[in-house]
Symmetry: none
DNA sequence: TACTAATTTAGTACCAGGTTATAATAGCTG
DNA sequence: CAGCTATTATAACCTGGTACTAAATTAGTA
């Protein structure tokens, strides 16, 4: 009998770490439901594992993000934004790592290059809600492992006073242009605060 | 007397906003010291200005930074391929999870939807090396958390016997089309492509 | 000047999501 | 059985608030 359930605690610790890692926004109470143990056990576990409480975790995350680049939309972006003039232009940098390439050829998958450009096109639009409507893109040459992509976005028109903006993005490696795209971005235009609300939007 | 300090409240509101903006980690209690008013006044002010409490601010910051960490895929193909007829058509499925959406709105980031379609367009081309050359895409409606995207790709032409193929991709949620794209995919056509393309389909 | 309205302060009850500490219980194990 | 670990329970307390009520202060004006 004993041997069978010899290490339920270590297993639980592992599970607990994993759960918190993949959702740092989880409360102890929610963990009790998932792990089927009392809240005291959860707390003992966190103590042993030196995992701080929810609020500390959020604070740490907030601090980390605050340090790097202070400004809002920068963190919802793929690549590092190095310059941003809202409604005008922006520049971001993105280094192709091995997780971005096809392993046999070392050539970057198109959607990563696209993602950098798309993120930048959205970020450069100064609006509460900005979503890509359409895009017309060209992959001019392949990008390889280790190369640094510099994407430059230019807002070409704010389309009347309405809901669309055109953004052109050029991505370079060194002097060479590797990608070009024309994006049409929807912007919130009116008010609309309803959905997202302010406080506890998601995950509860 | 009155005229001199005509708008102390508005001034204070401005100061308050500024203080919180430049240090979102500040508590109401600390603000009372800086602004020399009672904590109730601070709270009334925040209420009027719709500035959330410290913990909510930190949570929002944490969410923003969390989004960026969960950036893109890293995997071979985005979505699960459920049917594939090389050089003809393919179907893949991709469920929008919380790591794919803007946490504020629950709306999927465009590049994930694109990535699914792009992956499928590349996968459906039966060639050693297949890379996206150009794409013309339309996001027809926004996709939300929890929705399952079914992408269907059709190879429209194999362009002579040479280096390009046209692939059309439609993505649906239920009956509804949410995305449509026309891809031009470079294929190896015997030789390597030199500057040409971007991706290759490994592993198949 | 007296009345009125806005503003500010005070006080209380309550909440989430914990910490800390102390004790009781369960389950084996030697 | 004593002794150990693991688990659960209980209670007091903490921070940084919200929500609400009420009083006090400060203008502003009839």
């Amino acid at each position: 009998m004993p041997a069978i359930e010899r290490l339920p605690k270590r297993q639980r610790h592992q599970q607990l770490s994993k759960l918190i890692e993949e959702n740092p926004f989880i409360t102890d109470r929610e963990l009790t439901r998932l792990l089927k143990v009392s809240i005291q056990t959860i707390r003992l576990d966190r103590l042993e594992l030196a995992i701080p409480e929810l609020r500390e975790r959020l604070k740490l995350m907030a601090e980390r993000s605050y340090d790097s680049v202070r400004s809002l939309p920068l963190h919802e972006v793929i690549g590092d934004i190095v310059d941003l003039q809202l409604d005008r232009s922006g520049i971001s940098m993105f280094e192709i790592m091995h997780e971005h390439v096809f392993s046999r050829t070392g050539i970057a998958r198109g959607h990563h290059v696209f993602a950098q450009a798309n993120s930048l096109a959205v970020a450069v639009i100064d609006d509460e809600i900005a979503l890509t409507a359409t895009a017309d893109i060209r992959f001019i040459r392949s990008v390889k492992l280790g190369e640094k992509c510099i994407a430059k976005a230019y807002v070409r028109s704010i389309s009347g006073e309405k809901s669309k903006a055109k953004v052109e993005v050029f991505t370079y490696v060194g002097e060479e242009m590797v990608f070009q795209g024309n994006f049409v971005i929807y912007r919130s235009a009116g008010e609309h605060i309803g959905e997202g609300g302010i406080e506890r939007a998601d995950r509860y």
